[in-house]
């Protein structure tokens, strides 16, 4: 931990970055994001199994972007990111939301995080994204910290659930998702917490004409959740934040995961894994599969 603090302090003292976006401990089993602009404040920074937030979400916030300009320092922002959060940063760079040169990525050798605050760190309470994680070492970073540790083993129950849904007949599937989405209260926490939901104005906020009904009845909820999932298909990096924050416990990442699997099957593409390959929905290939069309 001292290394992280030392590094962050150095960055701020030298004026290389305008702010460090990191985590601080609030209680034994809970951390929260913190945006640090003064070198002495860096002592609050931590990194451990309870650093659940995907801080990449802050990089697209106009207010945070302004931080550098306001203090009359450089524009660069430093961010502490888990290897999976680096995927989100890569996806944002790919979609031209941020500039690689303006981001200083402090990443870690990660051995998994808990599924939610307050749980002990072990195989049973491992976050579902960590079960299938292949990048314990970040793909891109400016500073790598932390030691390599073994990730606890756990069963991939999310994939089992997807398979289970796929075995259902269509009307049962529809009924399943209808009842799941019915719980939605439209707080849009899933949208707020997603690094890739960066639209200045979301399609649900456009009400003339009203494509997605703003009311939180079954039809409005269904439309919102389907369109949310569609807008993230081929783009979702699988950080699972939407799942964690949903107050109604809707299995949102189930659909995201399914679409990620489809993207991989159709185009051998996983979002946020490479700075070189163009984004999936922002590009095309003349030789793409044409089976769907008569």
């Amino acid at each position: 931990m001292n290394e992280l603090i030392k590094h962050a302090k150095e960055l701020l003292e030298k004026g290389e970055v305008a702010a460090v976006i990191g985590y601080r401990q609030v209680s034994e089993k809970r951390t929260k994001p913190v945006i640090i602009t003064e070198p002495e404040e860096t002592r609050a920074l931590v990194f451990n199994e309870y650093c659940l937030n995907n801080l990449a979400v802050y990089l697209t916030k106009a207010r945070i972007k302004l931080l550098g300009r306001k203090n009359n320092k450089s524009f660069k922002l430093a961010i502490t990111a888990k290897p999976c959060d680096v995927h989100s940063i890569v996806a944002l760079i790919q979609e031209n939301q941020i500039d690689r040169d303006k981001i200083h990525i402090i990443s870690f050798n990660c051995h998994g995080v808990v599924k939610d605050f307050g749980f002990d760190f072990n195989g049973d309470n491992l976050s579902s994204k960590c079960i299938t994680c292949e990048t314990h070492k970040p793909l891109y970073y400016d500073k790598l910290l932390g030691e390599v540790k073994e990730t606890p083993q756990a069963r991939d129950s999310a994939l089992e659930r997807i398979k289970e849904i796929e075995r259902m007949p269509h009307n049962e599937r529809f009924e399943f998702f209808r009842s799941e989405f019915d719980k939605c209260i439209k707080c849009y926490a899933c949208r707020a917490v997603c690094p890739l939901c960066y639209c200045q104005r979301c399609i649900t906020d456009k009400t003339i004409p009203c494509w997605i009904e703003t009311s939180s009845h079954q039809r409005g909820n269904f439309a919102w959740n389907v369109i949310r999932a569609f807008h993230l298909s081929g783009r979702c990096t699988g950080c699972g934040e939407c799942d964690r924050v949903c107050p109604a416990d809707i299995p949102l990442s189930l659909i995201n995961r399914k679409m990620t699997i489809e993207a991989n099957n159709l185009f051998s593409f996983v979002s946020g894994r490479s700075l070189e390959t163009p984004t999936l929905v922002g590009s095309f290939n003349e030789k793409d599969n044409d089976e769907l069309f008569m």
């Binding site: 994001p33 945006i35 707020a192 009203c210 964690r244």
Partner: protein, 343 residues
Amino acid sequence: MDEKIISRVDLMKICKDVIDKGNTLLTPGAADYYVVKDISDIILDTSALPSKISHKSYVFPRTEPVLYYKRSKNDVQLIDINIDSKKIVILGAKPCDANSINIMKHLFNWDHSDEFFNKRANNFMVIGLMCSHFDEYCFCTSVRSSPVSEKGSDLFLIPVDINNYALKIITEKGKEFISPYSGYLKPGDEKNSKLITENVRQPEAAFDSSEVYEWLGENFESPKWEGVGNLCLSCAQCAFVCSVCHCFDITDEDYSYTEGRRMKNWDGCQFGNFTLHASGHNPRDIQSKRYRQRVNHKFRYYVDRFGEILCTGCGRCSRGCPVSIDIKEIVSNCNDNQKEFLK
């Protein structure tokens, strides 16, 4: 105040009767208050945390039609809504939740009397249950309440031993409700239950609400708001899980060119377009102003207008906040210049 003893078995008999009569029985679960179908599902746990989502939606639904309309060449015809007057009994309400309807009542009967809210609220029967557990986010004692507060309950339960509850009859409504079941009640002793409630572990008061009130009046432009504004992600999770947040939005939905309905939906003050004017001007254009509004509304404006704090101290908003913003931490640190909101 009248106090009786009732055994758990008899209490369940009353519950069964309530359901059999076609009324709705609500009880808190881990995620939400849910409608009881089978009385064996009832847990009545004093050591449970408040559910993730409050029972608010049963008195103020997240979406409801207020009228239906049909247009013709020269006319618009309206059809009013009739709310079914089913009785809703809420069993084992946390003391922090029990008072929420009373707090919201002020707003819904202020300049205009909201018949939708009032009809539902009048049909509500709250059976409160003492609370014996708190976590780092609970702060009921700081907002003029407590884990043994009877405020807002019609009947109040205190477990005296494994099989028996002390039943306090608080209101006339409660008396009316329990009178058909008087056969189940045994005379109780107030001293016994008092001994229990006095020994309940209570969260320490984190702040003095009158001090917060003063501070908010003087620090509208405090730089502290900016810190929390940078952190907050502008979702309305806090407002929608809250048991007393009551803002709503009116929107029209059409069935066809000529028919439609007017809906009343929950809205949250943290959304960027909550205050967006048709002109394009937005008086609360940045997140810090919106968060300031939230705190001010809860601890100052509502007190000014109705003399009551718009907060029950349940801690739901902080527990579920995607970025762990803790409203208790914010208001309790407001007077401390050393501590910024965000740190």
